[in-house]
Symmetry: C2
DNA sequence: CGTCTATTTGAATGTACTCAAAAGCGGTGG
DNA sequence: CCACCGCTTTTGAGTACATTCAAATAGACG
């Protein structure tokens, strides 16, 4: 099994010796998802932190009218979870679904706690991870509140140039918080 | 000096012995702000994590048209910072300003790194802090994207019942991402 | 080829904004 | 003590951004 991508990712923030790395990888479970398969369904409890090795998943929830709101896309080298459900072990309000054939590595909540105890350096790794996630999210809020849909779209496509290839326009609209019809009209306007 | 509130806050997540607590508090600097005073100004570098002991500060940025967008209110027992500026030691895009007479305890970035080394348990404390901050923020985004201003306002006042007393209506509007005029009209509609 | 879903198009509507101005409120100085 | 100043809140008219509903077109996949 190939843990290289994940280990390289971790090595950016903390140094592991061979034994620590071996212990860590012994806790990981590999899993493959085909396009359309669920990693997590609303109502079930999120039991794992999942690292995307290849492919892409979308995390979304359904509002009271049944409309899908995409919280995030997780491509290679990103983590996917419903953190609230994972931490509190309560029913998830999010769904996580593969939008490409996807390979992931998972660590369970209990194994993660074990890891924190045996290799406390991982507290540091995940602290940094959450710090960065927090900052990135902050930026997303600022945009949602102060930029128009057009500005958000332009910035999104610039920051994620692969979006056009890998995400459907409907999903991009959902992520930006506009209707697919409006995004379509917007694109036409920008092109013309 | 009274470190009790902060130590009690920390004790919810990690246990410190007397020596560790003493080392930690030795790194703290107390600071008082009068209403209107700045804790951080746009363009300067954020050097501290600040814990609010009493009072309230608002964190906000100015958009290209000079309009204020409030990112967050920090009342007692919350932290205030521009995390991005703190971590990267680059110029802050945010301002932090007291909206009440406020007492804070500060720890500098370098002392925080020292603390992580000497008392690694604090990695855990801040990991949990950022995890929770991340989750709370996530909820804020979901609301910004899927709820109307009216829904966001009603929820905000329910979640922060002290808002009416402690925050100006203008600041609440700014936090919700609407104009003060619109919030005023909205309140009238809700009351009628 | 047919079916299902995504995308485009258009008209009517609603939500929130801008601009402008009046009214309320709190502090300060004469 | 009250008159004035600056700032917040309210009010109203006109406008822009984005939605809903409806339907046509285009693409993807078995």
């Amino acid at each position: 099994m190939s843990f290289d991508l994940l280990l390289a990712n971790i090595a950016r923030h903390i140094s592991l010796d061979a034994e620590e790395a071996a212990f860590f990888t012994s806790l990981l479970k590999a899993r493959d998802l085909k396009t359309g398969e669920f990693l997590l369904r609303e109502g079930s409890i999120c039991k794992y932190e999942s690292f995307v090795v290849r492919g892409c998943v979308k995390t979304y929830y359904l509002d009271e009218n049944g409309f899908e709101h995409i919280i995030d896309f997780s491509i290679e080298e990103w983590w996917a979870d419903d953190l609230y459900s994972l931490l509190t072990q309560t029913a998830s309000r999010s769904n996580i679904k593969a939008i490409e054939d996807t390979a992931i590595l998972q660590i369970s909540k209990s194994d993660l706690e074990l890891l924190y105890q045996r290799v406390p350096k991982f507290e540091r790794f995940f602290r940094i991870l959450f710090q960065n996630a927090y900052i990135a999210q902050r930026e997303q809020i600022n945009q949602a509140l102060s930029a128009t849909a057009e500005e958000r779209y332009v910035l999104f496509m610039k920051q994620k140039p692969y979006a056009e290839r890998r995400f459907s326009q409907k999903d991009i609209a959902s992520y930006l918080g506009v209707t697919p019809q409006f995004l379509s009209a917007l694109k036409k306007r920008l092109a013309g």
